[in-house]
Symmetry: C2
Subunit: 156 residues, 2 copies
DNA sequence: CTATTAAAAGACAAAAAGGTCTTTTAATTA
DNA sequence: TAATTAAAAGACCTTTTTGTCTTTTAATAG
């Protein structure tokens, strides 16, 4: 689904947020170890995110990464757009440059709802919601249990 | 969403099928031109698909690509698995090696339905259904209009 | 102020994806 | 059979992604 860079960024930021909530500012070595990601690469990725203003860092003893407490929740969407761009959120499954209701590719009417669901997910889920309370991880009450046209075949 | 290779394969096979239905066996140059893909690269991709048994080819004058008429419909799923593997169909959005109901990542319960919908789509849509009659391209009667939890924000 | 700690910066490299080109092989037609 | 046509094969290249490592900068503690 996402690029490795996006995955590491997601896991890293969620871990940082969780630790921050416990009053701890984790350093790079700890973060990379805990999220099972390559250390130097993770450092480079977090560095970029700091430069882009997604989080703050402190050098030296007692240093590490964290979010300012005044920071508003960060939607996954913002992170994804910053790390890998919008192809996954707006691109055509067939690879057409123009694909919409007026010029639909053969998959459009079945793929667009899936892409919309993904857009909705990344717009509403935030690093904070994923880090805190595990709310997003809890199975929602099954009102809208399945999506797609063949609900029976779905696996979890 | 998919790799370029998968996109070219999808577009190429759909075009071949459409032309076959008209009694025509298109050659590589025509295919690449019509689907707006790089010629030599498309050739390499179709070559692999021929070797894997997805379609047939003939050399020399009047040559080109086609499906045997006895061939059963080809689900997109088979093509995707052959060209880029199963990451997009089974991978965890967070990048965890193990992610299921028993060990869910923070996104699991919201992402799994989306992935299921994608699996359903690629299992039921075939090259033939996309090529013929444009059936798949027609907007379905809106019984299950939106998926995801915030239907309002959906765009098409 | 010095030693230590930890991030910043950036060079470098490996792997994968994407793409080009030439030569060879096989089929058809004149 | 010779000329032509078109795919097969595979070498080669470019770009992007992923990853490693060294050096520099900044902060803190003693």
């Amino acid at each position: 689904m996402f690029h490795k860079e996006t995955e590491y960024a997601l896991r890293g930021l969620v871990y940082i947020q969780q630790q921050n909530e416990l009053g701890h500012r984790p350093g790079l070595a700890e973060i990379a170890r805990e999220i099972d990601a390559p250390g130097f690469y993770t450092g480079k990725i977090l560095q970029r995110l700091v430069r882009q203003g997604f989080l703050t860092s402190r050098k030296g003893k007692g240093g590490g990464f964290g979010f300012g407490r005044d920071k508003p929740p960060l939607p996954l969407r913002d992170l994804i757009l910053a790390t890998e761009g919008n192809k996954i959120l707006t691109g055509c499954a067939f690879g057409l440059k123009e694909c919409d209701q007026d010029h639909p590719c053969p998959l459009h009417y079945r793929y667009a709802p899936i892409r919309n669901a993904l857009n909705d997910l990344v717009a509403t889920a935030t690093i904070q919601s994923l880090a805190g309370s595990l709310a997003a991880s809890v199975p929602p009450a099954r009102e809208k249990p399945d999506i797609g046209s063949n609900p029976d075949k779905n696996i979890n």
